[in-house]
């Protein structure tokens, strides 16, 4: 059914109702006071006004006015009125019905207005959604800033990004004139970010954080006092940025405009959060590419240095076999260079974090055995004694086996370098709280307290190192590599005095608690 025909049926319906009410009132006329008649008619008129607006209301009021006079004011059946008081009743009725029809019209107009504003917010919201999908996150922020400026008739709208920890702010988007830029008080913006509270700049140049919203609300009536309003933007429970809106003639937003501002500020917060996440993802990707580049450089340097060393060693070996013992020196020096290259590569790999450790549950005795095997031939005639305090119990830790082995072998090399000839080196593993500790103990000169941290720096050589001792560790990189390996696995490496003389280097990695190992003992 068309809207027009529906309207016609409603008009007919309301006049039918008016006729019905008149008929009932006529039937009980002897018992009625004119007041009841006026009230009954008024109800019908107001009902009609509410349903179909002012035209029906006024038409019903006119017909009811005539019906009232004709049927209910003596003499009945005529439009004349005897009692002058009844004139008053009739006019009062007419005035009331017209007035109520008018008032209802106003209320309905306001409702329509509200619906329109809701639609406007909807449009802005969808605009926000569109801007959020722009290619560059910063473009979306510029779009949001100009939408805010246009919706509230502002001179300028600025969006700042706030650092999560330092609360430092940085302008990311602005719409509107920049002549005002020099006058902007950044401390107000920063304070808003830091405290997470609204703030306002007043016409006289001062600022306040004291109930700025109430100040704004009051402006509609009084002369404006606020020229800029600053609001921290929150996303996922923390301040991600700041919104600053300004108007040189003073801000005087209507309640509706304040609602629009709230909605748009929310989108600005989401936009800033998105920009931040995009930037983070880009940085992560750059880091990854940098890691890949480092891996490639290390691999190629490794290849380019090791291949000629292989040739030098091989040829020196051949010449030595022919009886020239100078070739032995060449081979030894090539070995020394090879170790140095290996350590340089280890160090750069560790310090640049080029390779993530492959952390697995590993068993301590297994590592001690592998360390003993690798140390064979590097002990310069010393004995390597191995002890564990575990007995039958399992000693497990979570660590990268190869890396930790390299660290322990470096510690053994270091012990060989600084112990007197013939003094045994002690290698042990034990559980210490939540740590699995590998210790290498020597009978060397020990490390003075003041040197205890410095010895782990790259290229450090102890003042007491004898130049004549076999150079196993290269250029003082062994300890810093060992510590780097331990740290990269969440552990550490320290040195302490050994009772009876010498040093103990203790490398710790996370242990697996013995309770977690019970199931293995049963199987």
């Amino acid at each position: 059914m068309s809207e027009r025909r529906l309207a016609w049926f409603e008009w007919i319906g309301w006049f039918g109702l008016l006729a019905l009410v008149t008929a009932i009132l006529i039937a009980i006329r002897p018992h009625l006071n004119v007041t009841y008649v006026a009230l009954a008619y008024l109800l019908v008129v107001q009902g009609g006004s509410a349903r179909r607006g002012r035209p029906l209301g006024l038409a019903l009021a006119a017909v009811a006015f005539l019906g009232f006079d004709y049927f209910f004011l003596p003499p009945f059946g005529t439009l004349t009125i005897q009692d002058p008081l009844n004139w008053f009743v009739l006019l009062a009725f007419l005035a009331t019905s017209v007035l109520s029809a008018q008032l209802l019209y106003r209320a309905q107009a306001e409702a329509a207005d509200a619906r329109q504003r809701a639609a406007e917010i909807d449009r802005l919201a969808s605009l926000g959604a569109e801007t959020l999908s722009t290619a560059r996150a910063e473009d979306a922020l510029v779009a949001i800033a100009s939408v805010i400026r246009a919706s509230l008739s502002l001179d300028s709208c600025r969006l700042y990004v706030a650092d999560a920890t330092s609360h430092e702010v940085r302008l990311v988007a602005q719409s509107g004139e920049s002549s005002e830029a020099s006058a902007i008080d950044h401390t107000v913006v920063e304070r808003a970010a830091h405290e997470g509270r609204d703030a306002a700049e007043l016409m006289d140049g001062s600022s306040t954080g004291d109930a700025p919203i109430e100040l704004l609300a009051r402006q509609e009536l009084a002369p404006p006092r606020v020229r800029a309003f600053i609001r921290p933007l929150q996303a996922r429970g923390r301040t991600v940025g700041v919104l600053r809106i300004a108007r040189a003639a003073g801000l005087s937003p209507s309640p509706a405009e304040m609602r629009v501002l709230d909605a748009l500020a929310y989108y600005a917060a989401l936009g800033i959060e998105r920009a931040r996440l995009v930037a983070e993802a880009e940085r992560a990707q750059l880091l990854q590419e940098a890691h890949r580049a480092k891996d490639a450089v290390l691999a190629s340097v490794s290849h380019d240095l090791r291949t000629p060393l292989t040739t030098i060693k091989g040829l020196a070996h051949e010449i030595a076999a022919g009886g020239d013992d100078r070739a032995d020196v060449i081979e030894e020096e090539a070995d020394r260079l090879a170790r140095f290259v290996a350590q340089m590569l280890d160090l750069s790999r560790i310090t640049t974090g080029a390779a993530a450790p492959n952390i697995q549950p590993n068993e301590a005795e297994d590592l001690l055995g592998a360390a003993a095997q690798q140390a064979t031939g590097r002990l310069a005639g010393r004995e390597l004694r191995i002890t564990t305090d575990a007995g039958e119990a399992l000693l497990f830790g979570t660590f990268d086996f190869s890396e930790t082995l390299r660290a322990v072998v470096n510690l053994i090399d270091n012990a060989v370098k600084y112990s007197p000839a013939g003094a045994p080196i002690d290698l042990s593993a034990r559980l210490d709280g939540e740590w699995l500790v590998f210790s290498v103990a020597d009978r060397g000169p020990g490390v003075p307290r003041t040197e205890r941290e410095r010895i782990f720096e790259p290229f450090y050589t102890k003042p007491g190192a004898r130049s004549g001792s076999p150079d196993v560790g290269g250029a003082g990189l062994g300890l810093s590599i060992a510590r780097g390996i331990a740290t990269a696995q969440g552990g550490g490496l320290d040195v302490a005095d050994r009772p009876g003389g010498g040093s103990v280097f203790s490398l710790r990695v996370p242990a697996i608690p013995s309770a977690a190992l019970d199931k293995f003992s049963k199987s």
Binding site: K313, A334, P361, E363, E365, G369, I512
Partner: protein, 231 residues
């Protein structure tokens, strides 16, 4: 001794020269290839007893060459490279390589590895036939099955037996953690790393004369374990 042919594959002539000088002898003839293509052709034509393969070939990855040769040849492959990460070693072993040597290697080291692989390859048909194995004071009879250490019977659990049998079957060859776990347990889920290490430890404690310095069940760091029957 039979005349062995060893194929050396490296794109750098100096390295080929060093390897040739180390390996060539009255009983060993060395042939050379500079590319993966030539290597595969030569391997097919000459049927070498062993292949020394450099990983940094210009025309193919070392793992691919391993796989291709392994598809039709059982000749041991020893890989040469400037540096192997643990993952690379595992991948190479899975691709069919038998051993790897890091540059710069000493001639003696390469010689020893090559000899070990040739010996293993020659014995391969006999291995796993179930004959009694004697290593020092240890006597292993895989058929009965029984283990005696200095004439005293050693009790092994079912899993320890499976582990020992797997290692013996591939004696001299490094088995990755995955390969061992699959052979012994049949799958590789759960706390594989821990189970394997627990049983290797108990096996060492029963068989090795010094379990902290194993001579038979040798750890290949970050890769797996190897049984050395001639320690």
């Amino acid at each position: 001794m039979a005349n062995d042919v060893v194929l050396v594959v490296d794109d750098e002539p100096q390295i080929r020269r060093v390897v040739r000088n180390v390996l060539a002898s009255d009983t060993t003839r060395v042939i050379e290839a500079a590319t993966a293509r030539d290597a595969i052709d030569l391997a097919a034509a000459e049927r070498p007893a062993l292949i020394v393969l450099d990983l940094g070939l210009p025309d193919a990855s070392g793992a691919d060459v391993c796989r291709e040769i392994r598809a039709w040849s059982q000749a041991p492959i020893i890989v040469l490279s400037a540096r192997h990460s643990d993952q690379e070693k595992v991948a190479l072993l899975d691709a069919g390589a038998d051993d790897y040597v890091t540059k710069p290697f000493s001639p003696g080291e390469l010689q020893a590895r090559v000899r070990a692989q040739l010996r293993r390859a020659r014995l391969a048909p006999a291995a796993g036939a179930g004959q009694v194995i004697t290593i020092g004071d240890l006597v292993i009879d895989p058929v009965k099955p029984s283990v005696k250490k200095a004439d005293v019977p050693v009790h092994l659990t079912k899993i320890e037996w499976e582990l020992l049998r797997t290692l013996l079957k591939h004696a001299g060859r490094t088995l990755t953690h995955q390969q061992l776990f699959r052979a012994v347990w049949g799958n590789s889920s759960g706390d594989m790393q821990q189970y394997l290490r627990v049983h290797v430890r108990s096996l060492r404690r029963k068989l090795e004369s010094d379990p902290v310095r194993p001579r038979m069940i040798v750890t290949e760091p970050g890769v797996g374990y190897r049984f050395e029957n001639e320690p």
